[in-house]
Symmetry: D2
C-alpha cells in the first residue's frame, strides 16, 4: 500500500510516493503555476504518472500554503493562490483523477510539524510546537499525540503572534507579528540595517553580495556567520533572541515540552539556537521554578512536509 | 454520592458539598491562614464537618492558587503560600482525613474554567479559553472537551503572556505581561493615571474615593462607568482594548471558538466586553477571512471554581 | 540687491531670484542629475542665467538634502548624492561661478523651517518647531529667533526621533523612527494595511488605485479622506496620532510655543491636524498644568525652502 | 559682594552664602516643612542669619523642585508642595525679607545643570545636556552658553521623554517615561525583578537587604555592582542601556556635544556610563557619520545646584 504526498509550494509542486512507513520511494517536481486549474491538472497528471509505477496508491495527502477548513478539503484562503478562496481543493482533484481514494488537504506548516512528530525530532514528545523559520515563520502544534488545528483551522499561526505593539509592518496588515522578527526575511532586514549602521564592519557581507546590499540574501549571511563574521553573527543573534521571546510567549499558552525548529535558516544550528535558548529562559515566566522545554533542530529533513502529508492522508 | 469541593483562596477557604450534578448543596468558609499546616487542618476539619451531614463523600477536589504538577497532587510553587514549593498537598490532606478517597488538586483558574465549560457559558463549545479578570488575570484552556494543562502544568498562564516588550513591570519579574494591562489592578492604574492627567474630569471618581486617590478601587470605577462617567468609561475602554489584544494573541496560537470572561470586573458586562470585542477583531490576524470567536461573560457564577473542582475530582 | 536661492531636491533643482524681502521675482528649474559635478555645473549655469537679468545678485543660499557642517559650506553626508561625503559644496560652486559672493549651504528642512519663521506661520513665535511631512519627516528648530543647528549640524533630525523600541524598520538602519509613523510613506503603509484587513471597506481606495493596491499613493488617500472615506480617514488618524505623539516627545525637550506642520500631506488640513492636536494633549506631560503649544499648518507655500535659503544667505 | 543660594529640596532646605566666584563660604540646612508659609519663613530666617555675617548679600537664587514660569519668580506647579500652584515664590519671600534685592527662582535640575556648565564638567562646551539620575530623572539644557527654559518653562523635562509606548506607568500619569527606566527607583525595580527571576544568583543582594527584598535600595545595588555581583551589574547595565537610548533620542533633537550625568547613582562611574555610551552609539542615528558627543560624570559636586542658583541669581 502506497500514499501520494503532494506539496504545493510557492515555486514548485513536489510529489512523493510513500510506503506504509512514510518513506518516499519515488518523487517528482513541476513548477507551480499561479492558475488554480493548472495546479489541479498538474497534481492529477503527477498522480497518474505515479500510478504507472505503483498500483496501490490508496490516499493523497496534500500540503498547501493556506488556511484549511475543518473538513480537511477546503482552502479557506491563501496568500499565494488568489483563486483559493473557500476553494474545494480535494473536490477539484478528486474529479480530475476519478479514483475513489481520500484526498486530504492540510496546511503546509502543519504537515511539516506532523512529519517531525511522527518521524523526526519531535518523536515521543508529549506536547510539541514546531516553528519553521523560512521566508516567513510557520507554526504547528501537536498536543497529546494529535495535530491541533483549532476551531476554524487557524491554530498555530505562530508567525502572526503579536510580539511588538506598533512594531514592524507585516504583510498581513498587522504590526509587530513574530515573523517580522523571526524569519529569513527578518534576518536579511537585520543584516542590511547593520551594514548601513556599521559600514566599517561590513567588509565580508558586502563582498558576499558583490557590493550590492539590496542583493544580500540569507545564505550569504549564514555563510558569514559560520565564518565568524561579526555582523553575520549579530544578525542571527537578533532573530535568535526574538525566536526565544516568541517561544516564551507560546509557553505561556501551551507549556510544551519541546520546540522543534525547522526551515532553511536552521542550517546554521546553534548559531541560531543558542541565542534562542538564552532568550527563552530570560523571557519565560517563572523560569527558575519549572522544567525548561527542549529546543532542538528539525531532523526529518527537507521532506518533512511530504512525510507528514503522507502520514496524515490516512488519519 | 457527593463530592467535596475546596477553594483555597488568598483570603478564605471555601468548601462546598456537591451532588452528582455538581450542584452545591451545602457550603462553609473559614479565613485562609498563611501557615500551610493550618490550611491542611482547616480543610480536614471542614471535610469532617461535611461528613456529619453527608455520608457518601467520595472525592475531594481542591482549587488552589498555584502551579500544579501533572500528578494533580503536588503544588510546584505558589505566589501566596511560601511553603508550597514542591508540596504534596493531596498527601498531607489524605493523611489528616484518613479516608481512602481521591484528593485531586487543580489550579484555581483551571477549576473556574472547567466549571464554565461543564455548567456555564462554555458549555457545548469545541475549544474554549477562559480569562478571569480579577486582581490579576487568570487563564484556563479547554480543548476538545479536555482541560489542557501543558507538559509541566504551566499551560494557560495567560496573565503572563508578554504583550509589551519593556512594558509595565510585573510582580513575576518580567515586563509587559498581559495582567499588567487586563486586571482589576490595571483598571485602578488606568483610572488613577487618568485622574492625575485630567483633574477637570475627575469629579465623580474623586467623590467616590472621598478625595483620596490612593483609595480608588475597582468597584468605584465600575460604579462610575455604569453611571456614564467619562474617566470610568475610559478606564474600562483601556483594559477592554488590552483584553481584545490579548485574545487576538491567544487566537494566533489556539484559534478557539469561544472566550469566556469571568472575574469580578466582568460585572460591568458590555462596558468591558464591547471594547474587547472591537479590539479583538482589530488585532486578529485575517479577521476578514475567518469566523470570529464568541466573547461572552461567564455564567456559572462566583462558585464556578468550586463547581469545576467538584467535577474534576472524579475525572 | 538680490539673492539667489537654490533648492537641490531629489528630482529637480529649483532656483529663485529673491529681492530684499525674500520675494521670488524670477525662477527656473532643471532636473537633478545624480552626478555631483553636473549638479554644480547646473547651479552655476542657472546663476549665470540669473545674472543676465539681475546685475546685483549678492549672495547664494543653497538648500540641500543632507547633513551640513557648522561652516555652512560642507555637506557631511547625504542620502541622495553618494559623492556628497565631507563635500565642500560651497567651494565647488564658488570656483565655477568665479564671483566673490557668499555661497551658504543649509539643510533643506532647516531652510523650509526658517522660511516659515521669517515669512510664514511661525512669524513672531518665540520657540518654533517645524515638521515637514513629505515622503519622509523633516524637522527644523528655531529658538529665540535663531535657527538651531546643534553642535555637529545634526539637530532637528526629528524624523529619526525613536518612537517605538523594536518598531518599524527605518532606512537609516534603526527601528521605530518617527518618520516610519508620520510621513507620506507611512500614510501609504497604514492605508495598504487597512485595505488588506478590511477589504469590505476598501471600495473607494481600490477604485482610486485602479485595483492595484501597490499603486496606492498619498494623494489618492488624501482625496478619499476628503470625501469622507472611512479607510482614508483611518489612515490620516493614524499618522495624525503619531504626529501628536512625536510632538509630545519633542515638547519634553524643547517646550516650544508653536508647531508648524508642512509638507505635501498637510494639504488635507484638519483631517491631519485634529487627530494630531488630540494626541498631542493626550501624550503631553502635565498637559492640564501648562499652556498648550499651537499646532498650525505651514503658510509660506511650496517655496518656503527657497525663501528660507534666500534669507539665510545673508545671515 | 555675596549671593545667597537656596535649595528647597524634598527633605531639607539648604542655604549657602556664595562669593563672586560662586564658591560657598558658609552654609546651613533646615528640614523642609510641607507648609508653603513655613518654607518662606525658614528661607527668610536663614537669609537674616546669613546677613549677620555677610553685609553685602545682593541677590537670592532659589532652586526649587517645580515648574517655574518665564518670570523666574512664579512656581507653576510642583509635585512636592501642593500649595505651589501658580505661586509667586519670589514675592512671598521678598515680602518677608523686606530687602530690595533680586529673588530669582529656577528649577532645581536647571540649577544643577547650570552649576555644571559654569563650574563643572560642562565648562567650555557649546551645547550641553545634563541628566540627573536620582530618585527620578532630571534634565537641564544649556545652548550656546544660555540656560534653555522653553516657551513655558517646561523645557528639559527629559525624565518624561516618552521612550516606550504602553510602557511602565509613571507617576505623571503617562506610560513609558524615561525616568521609569533611568533613575534610582528604576535601578531598584530592575534589581528586584532580577532577584525574583534568578534567586540562585541573588545571594549577595539578599544579604545586603537582610533577606527583605522590599528593603533593597540603590546604594546596596551600587555596592554589589562594585564588588562584581552579577545581578548588581545586570541592574546597572539595564539603566545604563536606557540612559544611552534616552540620550540618543535627545540627540535627534538637540545634537549636543556633551552629556553630563549627575545624581546619586553616578557614584558607580563607568559601571553606569560604559553601557550608556555603548547604547548611545548603538541607537544614535547615523552614528558612523557624525562626531559622538562626550558622556561624562558631573564634577561640580553635591552643591552644583546651590552653585548654579547663586550664579543664576545675577544673570
Amino acid at each position: 500500500m502506497h500514499k501520494l504526498a503532494v506539496d504545493i509550494g510557492g515555486t514548485k509542486i513536489a510529489v512523493g510516493v510513500c510506503d506504509e512507513d512514510d518513506t518516499i520511494v519515488r518523487s517528482w517536481t513541476v513548477p507551480t503555476e499561479s492558475d488554480a486549474d493548472r495546479i489541479n491538472e498538474n497534481v492529477a497528471e503527477l498522480y497518474k504518472k505515479a500510478c504507472e509505477s505503483f498500483d496501490d496508491i490508496s490516499a493523497i495527502g496534500i500540503s498547501a500554503a493556506g488556511n484549511i477548513k475543518q473538513d480537511r478539503r477546503t482552502v479557506n484562503f491563501s496568500a499565494n493562490i488568489p483563486a483559493w478562496i473557500n476553494y474545494d481543493l480535494s473536490g477539484h482533484i478528486e474529479e480530475l483523477i476519478g479514483a475513489d481514494i481520500p484526498v486530504v488537504v492540510e496546511n503546509d506548516a502543519n504537515c511539516a510539524g506532523w512529519g517531525e512528530y511522527v518521524h523526526g525530532a519531535g518523536k515521543g514528545s508529549r506536547n510539541m510546537v514546531m516553528l519553521t523559520v523560512g521566508t516567513g515563520l510557520g507554526g504547528a502544534i501537536v498536543l497529546n499525540g494529535e495535530l491541533y488545528r483549532g476551531s476554524f483551522g487557524m491554530a498555530g499561526e505562530l508567525g502572526h503572534l503579536p510580539m511588538v505593539p506598533d512594531g514592524d509592518t507585516c504583510g498581513c496588515g498587522l504590526r509587530g507579528c513574530a515573523e517580522r522578527y523571526v524569519s529569513g526575511s527578518a534576518l536579511e532586514r537585520f543584516a542590511k540595517a547593520a551594514v548601513r549602521r556599521r559600514p566599517q564592519d561590513a567588509t565580508r557581507l558586502m563582498e558576499l553580495c558583490n557590493g550590492h546590499i539590496e542583493d544580500l540574501r540569507g545564505p550569504m549571511i549564514s555563510k558569514a556567520a559560520q565564518e565568524g563574521d561579526v555582523l553575520g553573527l549579530y544578525s542571527f543573534n537578533k532573530i535568535g533572541e526574538w525566536l526565544g521571546r516568541t517561544m516564551a510567549a507560546i509557553s505561556a499558552v501551551l507549556d510544551p515540552d519541546i520546540y522543534v525548529i525547522g526551515g532553511g535558516v536552521i542550517a546554521v544550528g546553534d548559531i541560531l539556537l543558542e541565542p534562542a535558548r538564552q532568550a527563552y529562559e530570560r523571557f519565560l515566566q517563572a523560569s527558575a521554578y519549572r522544567p525548561i522545554a527542549k529546543i532542538v533542530p528539525a531532523s526529518a529533513g527537507q521532506d518533512a512536509g511530504l512525510i507528514g502529508a503522507a502520514n496524515l492522508s490516512l488519519r
